[in-house]
C-alpha cells in the first residue's frame, strides 16, 4: 500500500500505477457532482447535445458542500454515497472520466467500465467533512447554479487526502479490508 502525491488531472500513468489501498494526496482542480447534476449531464448526452463541462481527463468529487461561512472557501464538504451515481457513471467513464471521489460500493457496471477504459475510484472519509474542507482552497460554480449545493462546482484543492478504494485493475479495498478483519 503505497503513498503518493498526485497533481490533477490524472494521467494514464497515474491510473495505471494506483492500487486499492494506496493513500494519495491530491492537488489541483476537480469537479463536483451529485445525482441531480449527473442526471442532467446524461440527459444532454441522450439528446446529443454538448455538456457544460469537459469530462475527459477529469475527476469528479461526489459532494454537496455546506454553505461557506465567512473566512472559509467552502463549508464542510465530505463525500456522499457513490452508488446513487452508478446508473450514470459508465457513460462518463466511456467519455474519458478518469477519477471519482466518494464513499461506498459501486456496482458491477461501474467496476467493469473502470477496468475497460481506465479510471480510479477514490474514497474520502465520510463524515470527516470539516477536516476535508481545509484542503479545499477555492470553490466556484461551473454549471447548474439553480441546483444550489448540487450544482457542478470547480474545486481547487491542496493535499486532499484520499484512499484508492477501487483501481483500474479490479482491486477493491471494500473486499480486501473487511476480509482481513472479519471473523465469520
Amino acid at each position: 500500500m503505497a503513498e503518493y502525491r498526485i497533481t490533477l488531472p490524472l494521467t494514464d500513468a497515474d491510473v495505471e500505477k494506483l492500487r486499492a489501498g494506496d493513500s494519495v494526496l491530491l492537488s489541483g482542480e476537480m469537479l463536483t457532482g451529485r445525482d441531480a447534476a449527473h442526471k442532467r449531464l446524461i440527459a444532454l448526452l441522450d439528446e446529443g447535445r454538448e455538456l457544460p463541462v469537459e469530462i475527459r481527463g477529469q475527476t469528479i468529487y461526489y459532494v454537496g458542500p455546506a454553505p461557506a461561512s465567512p473566512g472559509h472557501a467552502v463549508g464542510s464538504a465530505g463525500p456522499t454515497t457513490s452508488y446513487r451515481m452508478d446508473a450514470y457513471t459508465p457513460r462518463l467513464i466511456e467519455m474519458g472520466l478518469k477519477g471519482m471521489i466518494g464513499k461506498g460500493m459501486r456496482n458491477e457496471q461501474v467496476r467493469r467500465a473502470m477496468q475497460q477504459y481506465g479510471a480510479v475510484y477514490f474514497g474520502a472519509v465520510g463524515g470527516a467533512a470539516a477536516l476535508i474542507a481545509k484542503s479545499i482552497r477555492e470553490s466556484r460554480v461551473l454549471a447548474y447554479p439553480d441546483l444550489g449545493t448540487e450544482a457542478i462546482h470547480l474545486f481547487r484543492v491542496e493535499d486532499f487526502p484520499v484512499i484508492v478504494l477501487m483501481d483500474a485493475h479490479g482491486g477493491n479495498l471494500y473486499e480486501q479490508g473487511p476480509r482481513e478483519f472479519g471473523e465469520e
Partner: protein
C-alpha cells in the same frame, strides 16, 4: 395551565440544531475515542483519528461536522397542561429549523416533492415532527439532524414469533452487513421491536438518538444490544468500511407491545456523526 409562547419553541429548536450540527455529544466522542484505542486495523485507527479531529475542528470553528446536516427530526413530549400561544405550533418549530440552517451555514437538503420535481425548499423545512401528549406542564424536545447516507441503509421487516431472538439478531446484523461502507461506519444502530410497522420504525429512529452510554433497562434486551454489537463488530467492515473491528459504536434497542400474530423489527442506521440534542421548556 401553563402558557408557552411559540417564540420560545422557535428559539429552542434553533439552538438545538445549531449545537447538534457543530458539537458532537460527549457520549459519541467518548465511544469513538474508546474505539480508537481498541481498533486492530492501523488504517481503521487512522480513520477514527480523522473522525475525532473532525469533531474538534467543527466544535472550535463552529462549522458543520458533516456537510449532510440532515433532515430535521423532532420528538416533542408536550405536557397536557401546556397551552401554546402567539402563533401556530408547527410553523414555530419549522421557523426554528429555518433559522438554524440559514444562520448557521448548514446545508439545505430537503426537496418538496420526493418523486417528480425534487425542488429544494432552500431552508431545510419542513421538519419531521413527532408529538406526544404527556402529563404535566413541560415540553421536552429531542432533536436529531438525520443524515441520509445512513438513513438509506435502514430497513423494516415483519418477523413473527417463531423467528425468535435469533431472527431479530440475524436481521439486525444482516442489515449492517448489507449496508457495508455506505452508512459511514462506525455506525449507531437504532432498533425498534414490536408495535406496528410504523411504531417499530419510530422507536428505531428514537434509539439512534439515545445516549451511547445508556442501555435498555430490561436485562434481556440489554443483553441483546450487547450481543448484536459484538456480532456486528465481527463482520470486519470497520471504520469507513475499509476493514477493522469497529463497525458499530452502539446498538440501542427499544420494544413495545405488539399483536399476537407479529413481531415487526425496524433497524435505523446512523453514521458516526450521530447528532442529537435535547432540552426541556
Amino acid at each position: 395551565m401553563r402558557e408557552i409562547q411559540v417564540a420560545e419553541l422557535t428559539a429552542g429548536v434553533r439552538e438545538l440544531f445549531l449545537k447538534a450540527n457543530y458539537e458532537i455529544g460527549p457520549d459519541v466522542e467518548e465511544a469513538v475515542c474508546r474505539a480508537c484505542r481498541e481498533e486492530k486495523s492501523p488504517v481503521g485507527r487512522d480513520v477514527l483519528c480523522q473522525i475525532r479531529e473532525n469533531y474538534r475542528i467543527a466544535r472550535e470553528e463552529r462549522v458543520a461536522i458533516c456537510q449532510d446536516t440532515g433532515m430535521a427530526v423532532l420528538f416533542m413530549d408536550i405536557g397536557q397542561d401546556v397551552h401554546f400561544t402567539g402563533g401556530d405550533f408547527e410553523a414555530a418549530v419549522n421557523e426554528g429549523v429555518r433559522q438554524a440552517y440559514a444562520e448557521g451555514y448548514l446545508r439545505k437538503s430537503v426537496v418538496q416533492d420526493p418523486l417528480f420535481d425534487r425542488i429544494n425548499t432552500r431552508d431545510n423545512t419542513p421538519a419531521v415532527i413527532h408529538t406526544r401528549i404527556v402529563p404535566g406542564d413541560r415540553v421536552h424536545i429531542l432533536v436529531t439532524a438525520k443524515g441520509f447516507g445512513s438513513e438509506n441503509m435502514s430497513a423494516v421487516k415483519m418477523l413473527v414469533a417463531a423467528d425468535g431472538e435469533q431472527g431479530v439478531l440475524d436481521f439486525i446484523v444482516d442489515t449492517v452487513r448489507k449496508a457495508g461502507p455506505n452508512p459511514c461506519p462506525p455506525v449507531v444502530v437504532g432498533v425498534g421491536i414490536g408495535g406496528t410497522m410504523e411504531q417499530a420504525a419510530l422507536m428505531a429512529k428514537k434509539m439512534t438518538a439515545r445516549p451511547l452510554d445508556t442501555w435498555n433497562k430490561d436485562p434481556r434486551y440489554r443483553a441483546l444490544e450487547e450481543k448484536a454489537l459484538a456480532a456486528i463488530n465481527r463482520l470486519g467492515i470497520g471504520p469507513a468500511g475499509i476493514g477493522g473491528n469497529t463497525t458499530a459504536l452502539k446498538v440501542n434497542i427499544d420494544f413495545a407491545p405488539t399483536h399476537i400474530a407479529g413481531m415487526p423489527v425496524a433497524v435505523n442506521m446512523c453514521c458516526h456523526a450521530a447528532r442529537h440534542g435535547e432540552m426541556t421548556l
